[in-house]
Amino acid sequence: MTGAQAWPSLSFLLEGFRLTIWLTFLCAACSLPLGAVVGIARSTPVLALRAAGTAYVEFFRNVPPLILLFFFYFGLPGVGVTVEGFTCGVIALTLYTAAFVAESVRAGIAAVDRGQVEAARSLGFGYLGALRYVVFPQAVAMVLPALGNITIGIVKNTALVATIGVADLMHQGEVLESRTFATFSTFTTVALFYLALIIPMSLGVNALDRRRRRMA
């Protein structure tokens, strides 16, 4: 790639980069609350909720996200439901990621000392009150670094939407490569874009981890 050609190519990749960021943001914004709900469900004493939570986690954690994506993209139109490729990406990656979030949240809840729950109950908190004001905030603080890692995972998994024709960073890279035949330089540039997004997130996770250690 000569300098004259490199700039239009870069703006072409940048279009995809914007979409990758937007997709990551939406998936994180949807999968964190959904995963928290599922994680709490898995920690309750109510058997039906626990069973539902376990079923969710075991299913979505163990299905390759690409298959989920193909299911929503190619499968659903067969029963008359056609959702845009981008939306398919948000739904599939959210469902997949929420399973991991749920496991982190459950681990956090399990790590909160039982004595704290008993203390809260003895102070007159109900089950939900104890969960909301005592257990959940501590649980989340403990698993924040893990949640950060899961969010980094989302960034990398978004590259899958290139397979269903969504013009994300990976897709733009593939199209550019097929036009220029510059395989190595194109995908190196694509990798640098991903790094530019992930490294700040990674530093953020490290900072959270240090803070958690200081507090503990």
Binding site: G78, T163, H171
Partner: protein
């Protein structure tokens, strides 16, 4: 007098036919398979010393290059052509190793030296000629558009308002972007995914070479092909640059492959009737994009 002249003219006609037949058979006898005779140290020499030729073929284009799901074997016109090439090089059609290529990987795999030659529905284009060398043409395909039976799209001019599913990295993507700038392109990883996008109505048109569509006949119920061709696609073998003696041998092989009747024989075996005439070796200038 009258009858004498007519006998004479009949005789002359017969003689002409005889001479023509003789010339034809003499020419066919001359069209012997080429012998590999490479200068020492050249690429062709390297291939000969290795004892097998490594050919990139498609595993996803039925009738041309396709992996049989029952046997795992790779079959098709281009695969058989590869075996004939091994016969021309080594006198043994089994001295060949096939490696899978897809649209996107054909040129990088040549450039990185993973394969000696690709025979993989590869269209010769001007842009690609800057990257690799092409042999003579061995097949002339054309891009066609497939639409659902009930589609309002009747002719190519209707494509401008369509959503067109097409495989990434092929000539289709480039052509559609230039020729139908208002159309929405849906770029997917394979012909199979692109066709699936048409089936699931995510796209209103699926564009592929007619060679691809030929292999999908049983799936095409409920769809119709727009008869006009979008493009001409001269299919030729691809070779990495800087191997003129190897390309010259491949060209001699392709000429013999067509002249000896092998081309038609293998076309009938793989693609079926009607068998067209083999295309000329050099594409018309207007076919090259």
């Amino acid at each position: 007098m009258q009858s004498n002249r007519s006998i004479l003219s009949w005789g002359r006609t017969a003689l002409t036919i005889l001479a023509a037949a003789f010339a034809l058979s003499a020419w066919q006898a001359l069209a012997q398979p080429p012998r590999p005779d490479f200068p020492p140290g050249s690429y062709g020499d390297k291939v000969l010393k290795r004892g097998k030729v490594i050919i990139g073929v498609r595993y996803d284009i039925p009738l041309y290059g396709f992996q049989n799901p029952k046997t795992g074997a790779v079959e098709g016109f281009e695969v058989d052509m590869g075996k004939e090439l091994a016969r021309a090089l080594f006198g043994d059609p089994s001295k060949v190793e096939f490696r899978q290529v897809v649209s996107r990987t054909r040129i990088p795999m040549l450039q990185e030296g993973v394969v000696d030659v690709v025979i993989a529905n590869l269209t010769q284009t001007k842009k690609r000629m800057e990257e690799i060398d092409f042999t003579d043409m061995y097949n002339l395909a054309g891009m066609q558009a497939l639409v659902p039976e009930a589609s309002p799209i009747k002719a190519l001019k209707d494509l401008n308002n369509a959503t067109i599913a097409v495989a990434k990295g092929g000539t289709g993507e480039q052509h559609m972007r230039q020729a139908y700038p208002q159309a929405k392109l849906l770029l997917l990883d394979s012909h199979g995914d692109s066709f699936q996008a048409l089936v699931s109505r995510r796209a209103t048109v699926f564009v592929a070479d007619d060679t691809t569509l030929q292999g999908m006949q049983e799936k095409l119920k409920g769809f119709r092909v727009i008869p006009e061709r979008l493009t001409f696609e001269p299919h030729a073998m691809g070779v990495a640059k800087g191997r003129p003696e190897f390309v010259a041998f491949l060209n001699a092989f392709i000429r013999d492959f067509k002249a000896s009747g092998k081309w038609k024989e293998l076309y009938r075996k793989n693609v079926g009737d009607p068998v067209p005439e083999p295309p000329p070796g050099v594409p018309e200038p207007q076919w090259l994009r």
